[in-house]
Symmetry: C2
Subunit: 409 residues, 2 copies
């Protein structure tokens, strides 16, 4: 991969400047052509030409609003919310989620469908994903929209071709998920991608979360498996093969509980969702293995709100272990913030005080290097929302979309 | 910090294209104007204009060589090695190092001076650094060169102003090293910067090491303290405050030996230089604390070459622990390679086989995610060489140097 300065030729400049205009409008709309020129440094003729092109392609539109200004009134511009949609999806242990957004990132739909991925093969899961995707595509295209892309988030390792060498929590190995999904959608006419769910969640944080715009950020997923999506200077950290962010087996306590990976005291074995339920509700598995964790988390929350002592003590201990794990990330990455999702967010009021104290105590840099530890504000569909955001990437980079495509058959 | 697409205005384009030309010549010289145009996509008139400017500013020169080609002979271009120099320095426990390079990165001088930084205050160390710097500046300017910059590498946390909140191995706290160094050099007329030594070492790897050009790379320094310099997609990972790369206290074994940070079984406490000497040469401290580790490392190498069983077993165990630490980095960062310096490089033949096996065993992704583990080829002056490389950054980004300055008084 070529690193370092890249030559600037005319079509790159045009795409880059298109991207600059779109980004400015996305973050400052409604705004005028003069506003864009003034704040981006592009000259007025260039802005005018780009805006004309973007209006023709239905990426921008004029609102007709004008402001009272000295001199001629200015026509205001916004992203055109109508002709396009982008889809994001995620596979959880017990459900599938699909999110559709418009060009401005505004939510068009959020659907959740129960599906037991733990008991299904990768192919069965892809079939179910494709079925839900087709329904969502049908809904948005019935509204007259063109789908720009679909990105699916899964837990585990996802390589750059969208193949999943390993998703341990789903028991998938060498699963060609992107290829199977494209085939199941029968060449839908828009790009279909597969990405690690924690990576997508951090992209959603960057765009939609409480700490949107933070350049050095980590989203830690809470679930059976714990994964990290990492932004470095605003870009996703992928690594040489796309496998970065595997933190579930950080070795925190070799004398700790057994982990499914064979070792003891890994981060997941200490603070993963099944471990938390097992530790705080010792009777939860008396009827058999837990498959739906949501009611168990609600029980824990109820006990904590009732100030049950052993629950609070257990949550504080788990919080300390979480803080210990986050401290390793803080030492290595020096993020500005770490946002925790899943059950960590659900139990945040009782986990995070202890976690923050341990984070500060253990990080080498003073004040944890400035790292803030908070619950993610994005809720249960964070990865799907990130997938939809990712599916907008090509247009947002200034590449014009291909003309409208037929709905998926 | 503004992330995302940046507007492209005319002076940015000029600087970027200057950078592209310089980079092409650096990596492909000698080459002709036509070669540059053909391989960078810049048009011939632009290349010609840039080359003229760069020759005027003594950044490029014509070699006078021509190739036999169809049509007119082409004048070949190379970086102008003569008018400029960049300096890099490092502070080790027992010595200071200064390296000077020309614009092409060719070594002009490498000096090492014994200095007991462990027994000196930050100010005393800065004074010694400035003295050595002045001598090196004097040497290169006596040869008619202009110094483009000086970057000093230190262990520990270095913030973006060049202040060192903590360098635990040197016992520095809140040391305003860059400011003191600039003052000690009495406004030298070139930029003076301070950076974490592991960061500088990985920059040197990117430019000069065996794996030069690798986009996702880690250099792990071996010494009393263990630090990581991390490249992500060819860019240095710094984090929100510049503190990224602190891996010395990765928790590998809470039942392990006591660490100076107060905990047990940190990476440093297991495989840092003093720990290695203590474990393999139990009598080394019978005369008092070891201050000069080089002879002890030589003793260990001699024992290993003589196939002393307990030394080989000890080195294998240390290698496994090193591999365990590297596996945590491989899981989190998915680097293409990890290069180990200092005593790790010196003991590589006996450490790395066990380390690689443990790395592969412990990393979640198959084949350690593709991560190669090797000894750094850069030797003892890696950080100083990286400092000199960093000091070239402004010119390499296409910003023209200010006219020649007088030598430092």
């Amino acid at each position: 991969m070529q690193t370092g300065p890249q030559p600037t030729d005319l079509s790159d400049v045009r795409a880059t400047n298109r991207a600059v205009v779109l980004r400015y409008v996305r973050t400052h709309s409604p705004c005028s052509r003069a506003d864009i020129a003034a704040h981006t440094g592009l000259n007025k003729a260039t802005v005018s030409s780009l805006v004309t092109e973007l209006i023709e392609r239905r990426l921008l539109r004029e609102t007709g609003l004008t402001e009272n200004r000295v001199g001629r009134p200015a026509t205001m511009l916004v992203l055109d919310g109508e002709p396009y949609a982008a889809l994001g999806m995620q596979v959880d242990a017990d459900e599938l989620v699909v999110v559709a957004v418009d060009l401005g990132g505004n939510r068009l739909l959020t659907w959740r469908r129960a599906f037991g991925a733990l008991d299904a093969s990768p192919t069965e899961t892809v079939t179910a994903v494709a079925k839900l995707a087709r329904r969502a595509v049908g809904r948005v295209t019935a509204g007259g929209r063109t789908v720009l892309g679909l990105t699916l988030g899964v837990p585990g390792l996802v390589d750059t071709t969208g193949t999943v060498p390993l998703a341990a929590t789903l028991n998938w190995r060498d699963a060609p998920v992107a290829a199977e999904l494209r085939a199941a959608l029968r060449d839908p006419g828009f790009p279909v991608a597969v990405e690690n769910e924690a990576n997508l969640a951090v992209l959603a944080e960057q765009r939609h979360g409480d700490r949107a715009g933070t350049a050095n950020l980590v989203h830690l997923t809470g679930g059976a498996g714990i994964g990290a999506g990492v932004l470095v200077e605003g870009r996703l950290l992928r690594g040489g093969r796309g496998f970065a962010g595997q933190v579930g087996h950080l070795p925190l306590d070799p004398a700790g509980p057994a982990c499914r990976c064979g070792r003891r005291g890994c981060l997941e074995a200490l603070v993963g969702l099944p471990a938390v339920v097992r530790r705080l509700l010792p009777d939860a598995e008396s009827d058999g293995a837990v498959v739906d964790f949501a009611p168990e988390i609600e029980r824990i929350r109820a006990l904590a709100r009732a100030e049950d002592r052993s629950t609070l003590a257990g949550l504080a201990e788990i919080g300390r272990q979480l803080g210990h794990g986050v401290a390793v990330l803080a030492d290595l990455l020096n993020p500005e913030a770490v946002l925790v999702g899943g059950h960590f967010a659900a139990l945040a009021p009782w986990l995070l005080p202890a976690a923050r104290a341990e984070l500060t105590r253990r990080t080498l840099a003073p004040d944890a290097g400035g790292c803030r530890l908070d619950a993610s504000s994005l809720g249960a569909a964070a990865a799907a929302l990130g997938g939809a955001t990712a599916a907008l990437a090509t247009v947002e980079a200034g590449r014009l979309p291909t003309p409208a495509v037929a709905a998926v058959g």
